[in-house]
């Protein structure tokens, strides 16, 4: 192990022991880049120099950890996914009197606002509750505000149109020169909450879980852990939506789900409960 790897290992140990935030199961290459980026912003020289301020300064830690959560993407990323959600999954969800949705690892919230818009347009919003979670309070606060740079809007508008949007994307935000503020009404049924997929437990009886482009940051073990968490958090027949380059194919939970729209990575939890086939019926 070279010094840099050693310093990162020590840093991750420190964060885990002091605050319970466990990044040890993260894919190392991108984590290393993020840590170095955080380091560059502090003006410190070596990764190990981050350990004392992280141990002794909670604000410093909060800022540092927010950096590790932020991934940047526009709204309605993968428009065809949202189209499939709208056309194939929503009709099924409409049959329930009330639906619970978990958007896991929301970062700055682009995905959860996209989802809220789909639910509104499909007449499902009023009977939905969306739990929008992330491990960083700083990042959650940003998501809650729903303010985005205008250059993000241009790309998002195109995506929205391709996703089968039924009105004008401009109806959902107020823009000034630099930023677009999303309609407060979209937030009415969103509960923003701190939850860490690595260390926290099951989250309600969900009809739908969206967790796209978060698992690519995890190693295989951690991915398996999170797939199990999702399985346990879903109702029978509940849906799980992954990112376009993510798959359940190689996980232990594979047999507990059906790939209902394989191309768009939409899976459905099987009706049978865990362990049923193991018993001699």
């Amino acid at each position: 192990m070279d010094n840099e790897e050693l310093e990162i290992t020590l840093l991750l140990e420190a964060m885990q022991s002091r605050y319970g935030y466990d990044f040890r199961g993260y894919a190392r290459a991108s984590l290393t880049r993020r840590i170095k980026k955080g380091l560059a912003e502090t003006g410190l020289q070596r990764i190990s120099e981050l350990i004392p301020p992280i141990l002794y300064d909670r604000d410093f830690f909060n800022k540092f950890v927010a950096n590790l959560s932020v991934h940047v993407t526009e709204m309605f990323r993968d428009p065809l996914f949202f189209k499939a959600l709208r056309e194939e999954v929503i009709p099924y969800l409409k049959t329930f009197p009330f639906i619970k949705i978990w958007s896991a690892g929301i970062s700055t919230g682009e995905e959860v606002y996209s989802l809220a818009i789909v639910l509104k347009e499909e007449g499902l919003y009023e009977k939905s509750r969306i739990y929008a979670t992330d491990f960083s309070d700083t990042v959650l606060e940003k998501a809650r505000k729903g303010i985005y740079p205008t250059d993000l809007i241009k790309k998002s508008t195109k995506n929205y149109q391709k996703s089968g949007g039924s009105t004008s994307f401009g109806n959902y935000y107020h823009a000034d020169y630099e930023s677009a503020i999303f309609d407060r009404a979209l937030k009415k049924n969103i509960v923003f909450a701190n939850h860490n997929m690595v260390t926290d437990s099951v989250f309600g009886e969900m009809h739908l879980i969206l967790c796209r482009n978060v698992l690519i940051y995890f190693d295989a073990n951690l991915q398996n852990h999170v797939f199990q968490l999702f399985f346990d958090s879903l109702r029978p027949n509940g849906f799980l939506c992954l990112g376009s380059k993510e798959t359940l194919e190689y996980s232990k939970e594979k047999d507990n789900f059906v790939a209902v729209i394989k191309r768009q990575k939409i899976y459905q939890k099987k009706k049978t409960h865990r362990g049923y086939h193991a018993e001699s019926l």
Binding site: A29, R33, H71, I216, S244, K245, E246
Partner: protein, 196 residues
Amino acid sequence: MQNHYEAVVIGVSAGGFRALHTLLSELPDHFTLPVMIVQHRKASAENYLVTSLNKNCRLLVKEADEKEKITSGTVYLAPGDYHLLVEKDKTLSLSIDEPVCYSRPSIDVLFETAAATYQAGLIGIILTGANSDGSAGIRSIKAGGGLTISQHPETAEADTMPLAAIATKAVDYILTLQEISPFLNDLLEQSHETKE
């Protein structure tokens, strides 16, 4: 002493479609190194570039999957709108971290992570392109003891990227597009002879 090379990384932007066809179609089926490529492009459902390269190339060309084990004789393309990274255990990973040099996938991200893993065993190549992504990556490869090549700017459809790479003074060879594949072949054969 000749290095023993383990992997090739290629960064290319504007003009890349033709450049990649020229370069990859010249690689023989016994080419033993894995090749990882960042071509700046938009995300698209139908993967025209991969299909078309596969038709014209003797090696297997595929879009990189996350956690995929890097295999020799395979050409991996970064998926649109994802960074492609090399892990220390020689697997591939993807991220949607912020764009670098306005680009996702970014050449720098691939080159820097590949340099950290392969060090002196890495060959980095910059081809045609209209921005300066890849220059920092070329520096990392050179610093790690790897070998660096730039397409000759005069033979590039867009010369900004080769010129930016050459300006780092970390480029070992400046070659025309047609010279690159034969050069890689010679290099591998020499490297095998030295090893034996």
